[in-house]
């Protein structure tokens, strides 16, 4: 990741697609679980905003970035402000001819979204980042800007609540 940051610091335009390639699956999956139907738009917007932010940063700041946690901060803010931002989103350019290949959604996605919706927002994000996305606690703490201990406790209690919900379902 440090190597990628230093490439970004020296040639942002050329190396930015690598950021997209490296994080697109996890950003898309995480947002799909948290925000639902608009995950593709939100993921696109996440990377565009990341690119614009990096354009403003000086190279030292880019080198020191905690890239994964930082991108997740952007993604989660977008997910939260989703409805509000939609109205003032910049002009969108759509790709022509092709909508590309989409993997089918997991069959039980909706059921898990409903279960997760019963958690507090902080717990829900911590659980999704830890177990759907597979982020380490240090990156989750950076992404949510909360202490690592708090994040761990949120994941733990979140899983406990999910377990109880599943018990009641059966």
């Amino acid at each position: 990741m440090e190597a990628l940051c230093s490439r970004l610091a020296t040639d942002l335009e050329r190396s930015f697609p690598e950021v997209v390639r490296r994080f697109q699956n996890e950003i898309f999956s995480g947002l799909r679980t948290l925000a639902g139907a608009d995950a593709e738009d939100l993921a696109q917007e996440t990377f565009i905003r990341a690119y614009r932010a990096l354009q403003e940063y000086d190279s030292e700041r880019i080198r020191q970035l905690r890239l994964r946690g930082w991108i997740w901060t952007i993604a989660l803010n977008l997910g939260r402000n989703h409805a509000r931002d939609r109205a003032r989103r910049p002009q969108v350019i759509g790709l022509e001819n092709d909508i590309g290949a989409h993997d089918p959604e997991p069959a039980d996605l909706g059921a898990w979204q409903r279960r997760l919706a019963a958690l507090t927002p902080a717990m829900r994000k911590a659980v999704v980042l830890r177990h759907v996305v597979g982020l380490g606690y240090d990156d989750i703490a950076a992404a949510l800007n909360r202490p690592e201990g708090t994040v761990k406790a949120d994941v733990h209690r979140g899983l406990e609540r999910l377990r109880k919900q599943l018990e009641m379902e059966t």
């Binding site: 335009e13 930015f16 697609p17 997209v20 390639r21 697109q24 699956n25 996890e26 950003i27 898309f28 999956s29 799909r32 679980t33 593709e40 993921a43 696109q44 917007e45 990377f47 565009i48 690119y51 614009r52 910049p90 002009q91 969108v92 350019i93 759509g94 790709l95 022509e96 001819n97 092709d98 909508i99 590309g100 290949a101 989409h102 993997d103 959604e105 997991p106 039980d108 996605l109 898990w112 659980v127 999704v128 177990h131 759907v132 996305v133 597979g134 899983l159 406990e160 999910l162 377990r163 599943l166 018990e167």
Partner: protein
């Protein structure tokens, strides 16, 4: 269900991003331009754009994508412009003026951007010489640089460099497929390039009205109103001034 059963199920919610996500990010961030084809007086043209505005116009013949990449160092992919621009692009090509369509000239020098903004104000059916653009852009004496700016205009037809002629009044070169296209456009717009060229060859650059004692560029709306019997021709602004003629306030010769 055990906790490890739950985490296993949560892990299975992870999947792959749609295949075109990278492409759409590149277009949205302006790393790659989008393009769409439009009809124009010169036939089909490729119009490219990024989120800031239209970036280029080129004839569709041959390999316009390859020419774009060679010239701008970026890729282009087929795309739909933002819905608010779609009609504006067609109208800008038809009128030969950007109107409210955003044009992105980033990467060009401040000087060239200024020149192109002035060129964009030349009305349909009229022409102005390089030297006039230089003065209007605040750099009198930069007529040559105006010429090279027109040759590098990334958005011909929309910024109407076909309405910019040599300082001696002759029609001159055109970047979009050569001078015959410039003649064709000017004829279509009613600027009568043949008549302009004759006037220029005879050494006349301005015309004036004996009744109003005002002199103009030959294609100015006011010049068009002068009847043949009252028409005076001038070789220079100085000769018009010494004959007692004032500058037209519309075309500012």
């Amino acid at each position: 269900m055990t906790k490890s059963g739950i985490t296993a199920q949560l892990e299975s919610l992870a999947g792959r991003a749609p295949s075109l996500l990278l492409r759409s990010v590149e277009v949205g961030a302006g790393l790659v331009d989008g393009y769409s084809m439009y009809e124009s007086h010169l036939g089909e043209v490729m119009v490219t754009f990024n989120p800031r505005g239209v970036t280029s116009v080129d004839l569709a013949e041959g390999d316009p994508e390859g020419r774009f990449e060679a010239r701008f160092g970026r890729k282009v992919v087929p795309a739909r412009p933002p819905s608010a621009w779609q009609q504006k692009i067609g109208r800008a090509l038809e009128k030969g003026q950007p109107g409210s369509l955003p044009v992105d000239l980033e990467g060009m020098s401040e000087f060239r951007q200024r020149i192109l903004r002035v060129a964009a104000t030349i009305p349909r059916g009229q022409v102005r010489p390089y030297s006039w653009l230089a003065v209007e852009a605040g750099s009198p004496g930069a007529a040559r640089a105006v010429g090279s700016t027109m040759a590098h205009n990334p958005v011909p037809l929309i910024v109407p460099c076909h309405r910019v002629v040599r300082s001696d009044g002759r029609i001159g070169q055109y970047s979009l497929g050569g001078p015959h296209n410039k003649w064709s456009l000017l004829t279509w717009e009613g600027a009568e390039p043949g008549r302009l060229e004759e006037l220029a060859m005879a050494g006349f650059r301005y015309v004036g009205s004996e009744t109003t004692r005002v002199f103009c560029h030959p294609t100015c709306v006011n010049a068009r109103r002068i009847s043949e019997t009252h028409l005076q021709r001038f070789r220079s602004k100085e000769s018009a001034a010494s004959a007692g003629y004032r500058r037209c306030a519309v075309c500012r010769p």
